[in-house]
């Protein structure tokens, strides 16, 4: 078990005033099996924070409306969370986690890679898969985008944490596992991180194919789903012809 002090603040600067902003925010850590929020505050500027909602995966979502004109949008949370080591007893997963999401649909390459891999319903087989995915991709920011699919990332052989997690999840599901994508924060990253969890014998076990390791109590989950399409930190629309510049401040520290 670890106690983590976290802060996560995103600032979006618009080149021109925008209005009629509607957005869904997933900017608070989860409070569920294996992770407990001791204290926290969450803010959005400008505007008012609505009551939290659930997106069906159990993630906390704020559906916010900012009608008035604004040049800057800032949102985020800070607080203290108690995180258990992975493997805590958890309720059965949503059955949809056994099937591909929008960005994890297997194509020819994933199917081929999958059929060449050893099968086995053990955590050791998943460690091997994690290692294999780590070596199939080269870490290169900018080579892929947020809409890149697992199949495309694997075809290009390059990507970032989201792509590593996608490829791992797609292959794990082809091998019959319930797999979920995790978006959150962890010690030692300058931005949000992505990893994967597999449901095995009544508990979730975390794998970080970007770092080629199992996850531990320093990984703080903000959202989980079939893939990144289910877990955006922010998704929304506004009126206005503005360019956006986004800066993210985040910090996670064990206390």
């Amino acid at each position: 078990m670890k106690r983590l002090r976290f802060a996560f603040i995103t600032t979006v600067q618009y080149s021109q005033p925008v209005h009629g902003h509607q957005l869904a925010l997933r900017c608070v850590p989860l409070n569920d099996a294996g992770q407990h929020l001791e204290t926290y505050t969450v803010k959005i500027m400008p505007g008012r924070l609505p009551a939290p909602q659930n997106d069906g995966f159990g993630n906390t979502v704020f559906w916010c409306s900012i009608g008035s004109e604004h040049n800057v949008l800032r949102y985020g949370s800070r607080g203290i969370a108690r995180v258990e080591e992975p493997g805590q007893p958890a309720p059965p997963p949503n059955p949809c986690l056994r099937f591909a999401g929008f960005r994890t649909k297997p194509g020819k390459i994933l199917t081929q890679v999958s059929s060449a891999m050893a099968r086995g319903k053990t955590l050791a087989a998943l460690d091997a898969l994690c290692h294999a995915v780590h070596s199939l991709l080269r870490y290169q920011p900018g080579a892929t985008g947020i809409y890149t699919t697992a199949e495309e990332a694997l075809a290009g052989g390059r990507g970032v944490c989201q792509d590593y997690a996608h490829v791992f999840i797609a292959l794990a599901r082809l091998a019959g596992w319930h797999a979920r994508y995790c978006m959150g924060l962890t010690v030692g990253e300058g931005a949000t991180h992505a990893w994967a969890e597999i449901y095995y014998e009544g508990a979730w076990h975390g794998f970080d194919p970007t770092r080629d390791c199992r996850t531990d109590a320093s990984y703080l989950r903000f959202a989980t789903g079939r893939d990144a399409a289910d877990c955006p930190v922010e998704q929304g629309t506004f009126y206005g012809l503005a360019d956006q510049t986004q800066t993210v401040f985040m910090r996670v520290k064990e206390i």
């Binding site: 997106d55 559906w63 998704q235 929304g236």
Partner: protein, 436 residues
């Protein structure tokens, strides 16, 4: 009847003036075209309709119970009646509908059930449409025009009045309205079914709204009227789930209502039909509907499915591959008559190709026996001819589930075609339900 035949031209001309059109894709191009009307009605005797009525209500009640179960306790899954592969793998299943029950627990408020009548007079359900089934407006307007052209036809026959559709629709919306006005939400006048959207708004007394007319604030939906912002309590939306809310589904959608899913999950607005209904009406789940009737209602289904095989099951796969040349194969992800292949029309080479596809992706296809359905007479250039036809029955669920005593009869315009979908270029007829 002769009166009606004599007025075929007049009625079609008036339909064109009213803008009764349908959009079709042909060779990758979108074209709008008129929906040809045939003056000879399909006539359903009272006793026959009573059976349909019972069977359709039963089916829609079971489907509504299935959706509530699927997004809730999932008992039908844990009891092994419906495999996860058919409930959760398709794009119609929306996780955002989990752990939430829509107002009054109703998912499919307006259901369009497609049936065909076999040569022996028994009816088969071909498809359930629980998302945004269109078509009720066509028989409605056609009946209005027919009445005007030939009032005698309607005095001489005991035809059940079908002009209550607007009232039924209003009842359905009022039943789930969370406080505010009723709105019919259209993607706009370039949509193939725009005529229907505007006509149904007129008949039901709902406000016709487009993107930009509605906005969300603090998880409540408002309509921008000339009097200012008016609270919206029920939205009969005529756009598909993926375009409904860019904060939740396709972020690039410009025709949706940003934030509406937040209002919906907060319980501040009813969405008609509920998002996520696609999990219960794809061609794969269709196979399980009679099982749902038995499971949820403990009754034998009154209406039968067309004999269907799921290549997902080994036994069915073997049968399908062995009889491919006489079956009709459907891609479960497609709608509107797209992705439907008749084995008997394929060359050996194409058959082998299809067999390969089925073997590779068994979950993607269903195979059905070709039903020898009854031909209906149509007037083709002044001469009576026989054509294949189906019936889309409209089942409305408000406080009670009711079948609208009419329906959309579509027929194929080609003598040998079995595909009657309006998006494939078919025509339509009025459907008379007799009162005795």
């Amino acid at each position: 009847m002769q009166e009606l035949i004599a007025h075929q031209e007049t009625i079609n001309r008036q339909l064109a003036r009213y803008g009764v059109k349908f959009g079709i894709y042909k060779n990758g191009e979108f074209k709008e075209r008129l929906f040809p009307f045939d003056p000879l009605p399909r006539v359903i005797p009272a006793a026959e309709f009573a059976v349909l009525d019972k069977g359709l209500c039963q089916r829609v009640m079971a489907l509504n119970m299935f959706l509530k179960d699927l997004y809730g306790d999932k008992k039908i899954i844990s009891d092994g009646v419906v495999p996860e592969d058919f409930a959760f793998a398709g794009s119609g299943y929306l996780p955002v509908c989990e752990g939430f029950t829509p107002p009054k627990g109703i998912y499919s408020h307006i259901s369009g059930i497609d049936l065909v009548e076999g040569r022996d007079g028994s009816w088969f359900v071909l498809e359930d449409n629980l998302r945004i089934p269109s078509g009720a407006s066509y028989p409605l307007i056609a009946r209005r025009l027919c009445r005007r052209c030939s009032p005698e036809s309607f005095r001489q026959h005991n035809i059940v009045d079908n002009r209550n559709y607007g009232a039924l629709l209003r009842e359905v919306m009022n039943n789930v309205n969370t406080g505010g006005i009723n709105v019919i939400f259209t993607p706009g006048r370039y949509n193939a079914a725009y005529f229907e959207h505007s006509y149904l708004a007129e008949l039901s007394g709902a406000v016709l709204a487009e993107s930009g007319d509605l906005f969300v604030e603090d998880n409540k939906v408002y309509y921008r009227s000339e009097k200012g912002a008016e609270r919206v309590g029920a939205i009969y939306r005529r756009i598909s789930d993926e375009y409904l809310d860019p904060t939740t589904f396709l972020p690039e959608s410009l025709i949706g209502i940003p934030g509406v899913m937040g209002a919906y999950r907060t319980g501040n607005v009813a969405i008609i039909n509920a998002p996520g209904n696609g999990a219960a009406d794809d061609k794969g789940i269709y196979y399980f509907v009679p099982k749902m009737v038995r499971y949820y209602l403990g009754e034998e289904p009154v209406l039968h499915n067309a004999p269907t095989y799921l290549p997902f099951y080994k036994e069915d796969l073997d049968y399908t591959l062995a009889n491919l040349n006489k079956l009709v194969v459907k891609d479960v992800a497609e709608a509107g008559g797209y992705g439907v292949v008749f084995g008997r029309e394929l060359t050996q080479e194409k058959l082998a190709e299809l067999a390969g596809m089925i073997k590779r992706e068994p979950r993607r296809f269903i195979a059905q026996e070709v039903i020898d359905f009854k031909d209906l007479p149509v007037m083709e250039n002044g001469v009576q001819a026989e054509r294949k036809a189906d019936l889309r029955a409209f089942v409305l669920t408000g406080a009670e589930t009711k079948v609208w005593p009419s329906g959309l009869t579509r027929f194929s315009r080609e003598p040998d075609s079995f595909v009657v979908n309006s998006s494939q270029g078919g025509g339509f007829k009025d459907t008379w339900v007799l009162s005795d």
